[in-house]
Amino acid sequence: MANVIIDGIQVSVPDGSTILKAAQVAGVHIPTLCYHPDQAVKANCRICVCEVEGQRLLQAACSQPVWDGMEIKTHSPRVLEARKTILELILAHHPQDCLNCIRNQNCELQDLANEYAIRDNPFEQMVRGLPQDRSTPSIVRDPDKCILCRRCIEACSVFQSVDALGLENRGCQAMVVPSLGKDLLDSPCVMCGQCIHACPVGAIAENEQIDEFLAAVNDPDKIVVTQIAPAVRAAIGEEVGLKTGAMDMNVFVAGLRQVGFDYVLHTNFTADLTILEEGNELLQRLKEGGKLPMFTSCSPGWINFCETYYPDLLDNLSTCKSPQQMFGALVKTYWAEKMGVDPSKIYSVSIMPCTAKKFEASRPEMNDSGYRDVDLVLTTREVGRLFRMAGIDFSRLAPSNFDSWMGAYTGAAVIFGATGGVMEAALRTVYEVVTGKTLEDVNFTFARGMEGIKEAEIDLDGTVVKVAIGHGLANARKLMEQVRAGESPYHFIEIMACPGGCIGGGGQPITKSNAKRAERIQAIYEEDAGLPLRKSHDNPEVKAIYADFLTEPLGDKSHELLHTHYTPKNKKFL
């Protein structure tokens, strides 16, 4: 242990602790900017510099280890002058259009500027004048706002192993750019949006489509129907001043009606349906010697990754569309028929925790209903903005029920929002289908939690199925390398592109740390535990759709509407 004195407060911390860690122990706040709790120390912004007794140089608190007897001043005049000057330098090279910025009031640089009372910046305001990158339907890059902290690069390379973002040039010409300085669309980017969470400012953000939504609501000829993905409820509260997981599902529904949706349905319905289709597909592959291991196909960032980096393994992907796209195909066929409405008037909006979903909805093949299956994808953050815009007070809103035919769901669908959830949901159904017995304990706890790769052997009455779960694409890559080498022991692999699963998706409220992701996961499992039905095949509306429309899992109608195919991306470079 090392005894150190921070601003006169004596604390004892483990050897090798940084000044930043020691200050946390001492209850002293040191500002940071490039520092990220789940990433490697970078020490490049120099905002956290502190004065160490006897040292001429200021030391970065994030990288400097303490020694026994170290005396640290975290806000001496020298320190404050340095921090303020560095902030002035960064701000003077940053377009200060905070009022127009998507990260207004949710920006680490803005917070620091406020904290350090930056008023009359002595440095002349400059803007780089670089073009925005709007090449993908999911993500917008605004390099003028980039402060070169490099957190996005690490998120993309280390968490995700996508390697789309890197550095170009040096000195004040240096910039974070997609590979070879091209547009994101030409890079290996999978549009997962993890870079957005990493970005402390508004240099990378979702492609915001609020105006398109408002235009549809204003169009009297459009029936605006929405679906809500399972992970959204767990996090939407964070956007409107509630605690994580505190938004009641039916109050959420009421809120959506307030902002103008004509019908509110649930992606959970097609999540349950996915389990029926995908579970049966797995059983068919096991029985008939199909391609194994089978990979889940719910996560569009993962699909992009597989098409980009593992085009040789596309046959291993389940042919099931994602729940979003199954919903899209059904809402303009089955649901329109049930409701007696003209499908051409339906404007199908999905509310997703995900930026890659915007791309998925725009895939040319996603028009099996005869129309665009999903017309618009809004992220959790965009819906949060709609709520704030509408001035909704959720504490005074009367709960409202989902609309019929595609609004019922089970706990199995709810857990789709967390890593391991699709696996657990599938096992709840597959077990009962294979064994014909009732599953007494539906909790497959091995599948839960933030461990990067989880695995298990499941005994289905003599048939042993080996399964694995990976979240975050760096973990997916490990599992895929095994498959490519012919060394994968598994029959079934669940992959979600984002760390923590969809609750950590690129469209969720900005989260800097994995700790927040764990909170949302807890909210998901609490919701599951509180529901009367927890197995997908028990969903009454799922039973109804097979009885009235689809006839059976993997049937002709299913193949027409609910299944898809994949195409190698053939990127020139990776």
């Binding site: 789309a164 973002l165 550095l167 170009e168 590979s179 300085g181 990776l574």
Partner: protein, 147 residues
Amino acid sequence: MDYKEIMAPYQDLPGGIIEAFHAIQKEQSYLTEDAIIAAAELFEIPVKDAYGVATFYSYFSVNSRGRNVIRICESAPCHIAGANEVIAALEKELGIKMGESTPDGKFALEFAECVGQCQATPVITINGKPYGDVNAEKIPAILAEYE
């Protein structure tokens, strides 16, 4: 141009991509996209990292430029020894501005920082070969070596 063949001698050098880029530029004076992609494959690193290296170092160019790269030192010792006159003379002689290449692709004109020949300021280099005590009168003869 078979980039991989040019770079092959450096393939087994850990971190040898910089040597490999030098080797390519000896052949064609700048790094094409295909060359960067080939290097990334050869050294088993992401293309974004190979590109990051290619754009970091002054001696590498990712834009096409003349075959013979003329660099004019403008560091302080050369600056006070009259580098500006040398720049003006070269621009006039070649009919191009600093940072440009001649239309026939023969010469590229670039700024450089100190090349370590300060006993004979001002200094220019052509393809790495230094010329000291340069002045306007000497320039035609120096360029003639590369005709």
